[in-house]
């Protein structure tokens, strides 16, 4: 397995190899053109000299681009400068007639395309387009006039720069995403390893301290209570999956509810993910938290609570039951004064916004039970 860093570095390697290969092949073509026109030039020696310089430059740049893991901008600019300079040599090599009437190719001919590819691979679409434009400008400048053929060269050069630049940008982005995914995977593996370690050591000891301390009573029982609180908190932490959403905005409701489990609050969920729209997951978790805080405040110190999450396919049902003091039927006014019904109203309002229903059952000594039903079919975050 290669590291994320290596993935990003390697992403452009094939493009660099292609650019180097393109320069070698186009050099052969340029040499062939000079051979074909041998003897017709104003300065044949300089023509072959230019081809020689091109060969040297091809070798030098190839070594640089293939060896370097990070290609410097200044080097690609020097490369561009050298290529344009070699194009200018054609003014001394070609006769005036060859330059303007016969339209014999410049000495480097298509060899200059390679430097446009270099700019594109190094600096993306912007770099490619700019390098293409500069080479075209020199093409016009060396010939000294505008015509359809030269404009066609312009379009092709800028086009090559743009397309190769696009490819370069895209592979950089994909490599970036791949590296991110690999980092996330490594983080998950690390998290699982930690969870296992915590489970095998700290949790076992805490559980034992809590159990034995409670049996011994007195001060030991107080310590046991502290150990127990930490044990449950730690269990919830290592058990809960990370809060991630899927690509289409769905989220697993379970971990958001499971983190609410404590000594007094138990959470029951299915073994398979309960997928709901992201916003509904957040709202439901908020509702359950609110209901549990209400239990904390009003149901009595000894009250325990149970949260049940059910996935019925077309709807999700979340129940919160406590075994606290409950509310007597005749005491609803008192309850309202205490703020308990304020919470009830807030819960009902939120459920209604999700298109669901909320029922509250209570009687004295029987605790309270909320049942919230949210339809899932075709619903999305508003």
């Amino acid at each position: 397995m290669s590291s994320p860093r290596a993935v990003r570095k390697d992403a452009l390697k094939p493009l660099w190899r292609a650019a180097v290969l393109l320069r070698a092949i186009t050099w052969l073509f340029a040499a062939g053109v000079v051979l074909a026109h041998d003897g017709e030039y104003a300065n044949t020696v300089l023509a072959w000299g230019t081809i020689g310089a091109m060969a040297l430059w091809t070798v030098a740049t190839s070594v640089y681009y293939l060896r370097r893991s990070k290609v410097a901008l200044w080097f690609t600019l020097v490369d561009l400068g050298v290529c344009c300079a070699l194009m200018c040599m054609s003014r001394l090599v070609l006769t005036h007639d060859q330059l303007t009437v016969q339209v014999v190719p410049l000495v480097p001919t298509v060899w200059v395309t390679a430097v446009v590819a270099v700019g594109a691979v190094r600096s993306g679409m912007v770099g490619g387009t700019a390098f293409g434009a500069v080479v075209s400008a020199f093409n016009y400048g060396v010939r000294g006039y505008f015509d359809t053929d030269l404009t066609r060269d312009f379009v092709l050069l800028v086009g090559v720069g743009f397309v190769v630049g696009l490819a370069s940008t895209t592979s950089k982005q994909s490599a970036e995403r791949l590296a991110m995914a690999m980092r996330a995977e490594a983080a998950t593996a690390e998290r699982e390893r930690l969870a296992r370690t915590i489970h095998d050591s700290v949790l076992q000891v805490l559980a034992r301290v809590r159990k034995r301390g409670r049996e011994l009573g007195g001060e030991a029982a107080e310590l046991a209570e502290l150990a127990g609180t930490q044990e449950v908190a730690l269990r919830a932490l290592v058990a809960a999956a990370p809060l991630e959403s899927t690509a289409n905005g769905q989220a697993d409701l379970r971990p958001r509810i499971q983190v609410l489990a404590t000594n007094r609050y138990q959470v029951a969920v299915p073994a398979t993910p309960v997928l709901v729209p992201e916003c509904a997951a957040a709202e439901l978790a908020y509702l359950v938290r609110e209901a549990l805080e209400n239990v904390d405040r009003h149901a009595g110190d000894e009250a325990r609570a149970w949260v049940l999450v059910e996935d019925l396919g077309d709807e999700v049902v979340v129940s919160v039951r406590d075994d606290g003091v409950g509310i007597a039927a005749g005491r609803l006014d008192d309850a309202e004064a205490q703020g308990r019904l304020g919470v009830a109203r807030s819960i009902r309002g939120r459920v209604a916004e999700l298109g669901g229903t909320a029922t509250l059952e209570t009687s004295p000594g029987q605790g309270t039970e909320w049942e919230v039903r949210i339809p899932m079919r075709g619903r999305n975050c508003g």
């Binding site: 296992r196 489970h199 095998d200 949790l203 076992q204 000891v205 559980a207 034992r208 809590r210 159990k211 034995r212 409670r214 049996e215 127990g228 044990e231 449950v232 269990r235 919830a236 290592v238 058990a239 809960a240 499971q258 489990a261 000594n263 138990q266 959470v267 029951a268 969920v269 299915p270 073994a271 398979t272 325990r304 609570a305 149970w306 049940l308 999450v309 059910e310 996935d311 019925l312 396919g313 129940s319 039951r321 075994d323 039970e369």
Partner: protein, 220 residues
């Protein structure tokens, strides 16, 4: 205890916890026949000592508690397995119960709850926490929604009602009051949800074995 003491075996890879549980149970009149620290030795030792109840941790260092549960319940008809594991190991707990465990208790349960649960397991009752009821309920609903699970068992309306109340933390006694049933009937409903699931699991395993040729003796 009038008759002979209930015999128990404790399987857990953590010695502090294992010995603590063993001592708790001995002090309360249970006969702790053996302890084991990993799945293979748990199966080996259980064959020899044949305890009434195996207390099984699922998070074992070597081998899986689920496989040990499957082997022990398949081979030893008289031995019941009670899973005693950390909360939060959802799929493992569900798998262990499907493999034949008669119940599940969280490690945070008190010594009294543990004693009560072992006693009930020994006489053949299912020991459900609210968490396990939620898992079993979810498993039946998953099977009902899956198109390929045509032979999967279904819950009756009454069984669904009972399981939901167990998942909401109610005791068998409270459920009996709420649904106007006898305590025994409630226990039977819980028991039957478990048995159907275990039977289905065994049938599925056998079918898988036949389809993949695992039932033929490689020596022939």
């Amino acid at each position: 205890m009038a008759e002979r003491a209930i015999s128990v075996m404790v399987v857990d890879d953590h010695p502090i916890w294992r010995d603590g549980v063993a001592r708790d149970l001995s002090e309360r009149g249970f006969e702790v026949r053996a302890t084991a620290g990993d799945a293979p030795s748990a199966v080996r030792i259980a064959r020899v000592v044949r305890p009434d109840v195996v207390l099984m941790d699922l998070n074992l260092g070597a081998g899986s508690g689920v496989d040990a549960t499957r082997e022990i319940t398949a081979e030893l008809a008289e031995t019941k397995v009670l899973v005693l594991s950390a909360s939060g190991e959802h799929s493992d707990v569900l798998e262990a119960v499907k493999a034949g465990a008669s119940g599940y208790l969280v490690k945070s349960a008190s010594a009294e709850e543990l004693v009560d649960a072992v006693g009930r397991t020994a006489v053949g009752d299912a020991v459900f926490t609210a968490g396990l009821a939620g898992l079993v309920l979810g498993e039946y609903r998953r099977m009902a929604a899956a198109p390929q699970e045509t032979s999967a068992p279904r819950l009756t309306d009454r069984e669904t009602d009972v399981l939901r109340l167990v998942a909401k933390g109610m005791t068998a006694r409270q459920i009996a009051d709420r649904l106007v049933l006898s305590h025994r009937t409630v226990e039977n409903h819980v028991q039957s949800t478990l048995r159907k699931l275990q039977l289905h699991n065994r049938v599925e395993l056998a079918r898988y074995a036949i389809e993949h040729g695992l039932d033929t003796d490689p020596a022939q």
